[in-house]
């Protein structure tokens, strides 16, 4: 049996006396968009950073295709990640930024033009990133994630700063990405946006995963995702 694209098992992270993530277990399946939903400070970013090897878990495992991110030979060709829109130097241009990271990832520089076109950033590819709007930076972050033509996308609040047209574009892009058999794990605190994009849901609150399942299952009995989310977060206990 082949390993799940993303498999998180009993994951925990403690910062000093604060339990940022506790006993989180969930997975993301191929061909589907998995929404990772929770209020601000719920532990979404910490979980994604543990998955990508930027934060060391206190306990548990976070695996990508059965291995830790750092143990993959060419991880950028397997996983593209958008974690932080500030991850580009303001004095470089978008094209220079992408060339740098294509070299560091061991990806052909030919991919630079491809991802610029794919993400609609080609028209400002030679402008300094310091002059970019938040939405332009989000698109550049996504372009960086796509450099390795990955099988899996891990995105932390990717619609932040996007205008309505950008949000629709992102939704269409992610749906098409998943439809090609690839995997998307998408964190957000925007219920409406995730509801329109995701197939499966993982709800997290105060560091604990409170619900997992398909969007259809969560909305059964005529409940809206908002009802489910508010119940899960207000009670602060597993449902």
């Amino acid at each position: 049996m082949s390993a799940a694209p993303i498999e998180i098992t009993r994951l925990a992270k403690r910062f000093g006396t604060v339990d940022a993530v506790t006993d989180a277990t969930f997975s993301a399946a191929p061909g589907r968009v998995t929404g990772f939903l929770g209020p601000n400070g719920a532990g979404k970013s910490t979980t994604l950073r543990m998955l990508l090897g930027l934060i060391r878990p206190s306990e548990g495992t976070a695996l990508i295709l059965g291995k830790h991110y750092r143990d993959h030979r060419r991880p950028a060709r397997l996983v593209g990640a958008v974690l932080d829109i500030a991850g580009a130097h303001p004095r470089t241009t978008a094209r220079q930024h992408l060339r740098t990271y294509s070299a560091l990832s061991g990806v052909s520089p030919k991919r630079v033009d491809a991802v610029l076109d794919e993400t609609g950033t080609a028209e400002y590819a030679d402008r300094r990133i310091g002059t970019f709007s938040t939405g332009m930076r989000q698109r550049l972050a996504l372009a960086t994630a796509l450099l390795g033509d990955p099988e899996i996308l891990v995105l932390d609040e990717p619609s932040n700063g996007l205008d309505p047209a950008g949000i629709v574009w992102l939704r269409t892009f992610l749906r098409a990405f998943a439809a090609s058999g690839r995997t998307v794990l998408l964190s957000s605190h925007l219920l409406g946006e995730v509801e329109q994009t995701a197939d499966d849901m993982v709800l997290i609150d105060r560091g604990r995963v409170t619900r997992t399942g398909s969007l259809c299952d969560l909305r059964s009995n005529g409940k809206s995702l908002e009802d489910v989310f508010l119940r899960a977060t207000q009670e602060g206990a597993p449902l």
């Binding site: 950073r49 090897g53 934060i55 932080d84 130097h89 241009t93 740098t100 070299a103 061991g106």
Partner: protein
Amino acid sequence: MKLIHGELIKLVTLRLALWTILLAAACGMLLTGALALIGPENATPPMPGLDTVEGVEIVLGLPAVLLFVPALIGTIAVTSEYRHRTIGTTFLAAPRRGRVLGAKLIVYALLGLTYGIICSAASGVALYVGVAARGVAIPVPVGEIVVPLLQLALAAAVYMVLGVSIGALARNQLVAIAIVLGYFYVLEFVLMMIPGVNSLYPILPGGATASLTSFSFLTDALAEQTSLDAAALASPLAGAGILLAYAGVAGLLATIVPLRRDLR
């Protein structure tokens, strides 16, 4: 190789390589050129003239006073990655952090060496222009001038590695800059003024640099002012060995310590 290639692209796109070359030429030319034109014997306090071997050594060694420049270039380059949060993007592209930092150290050691060679060449040119303008004959053959200039180039490479290492360990740009400037331009001088402790000077980075570059005029002057005996410096070879040891230890720490750090 891909990591070294990526770091080289960063140097070029951020124009760090260009600024390093310009700063190296300026640092080499300004101090040496000014002193060669004025004449060391006319400085305050007076120094041996350029018609003496000692005077030539002092003038050529003067750019060693500005070795904080390559150290700061290295420090600022690395801490900028944390300041602009590009380090996360870098570690996603290449999650083996030790290799990333190793590549940085190699690239910046080469940049430091480039800085040193350009600074030394500019210093040599400034010396000859200065003495030609004043009509003084240098009592040292060109071949012998090359040696201290190459020693300065080696010291610049080591200082840039030290700067990169301090930046990788401190991460915060202002803190790292304060450590570099505070250590080399405050703490070492303070240590030199404490009786007993000042005997350690030859094995400190500043003392080892003075040994390597044979430039001890400032420390000798300080010893004279404080009536303390100046500790005898090591040989240039020993100085080079001590500096390389510092660079090796700092580089090792810079590649090991960040491995376990969380990047939030």
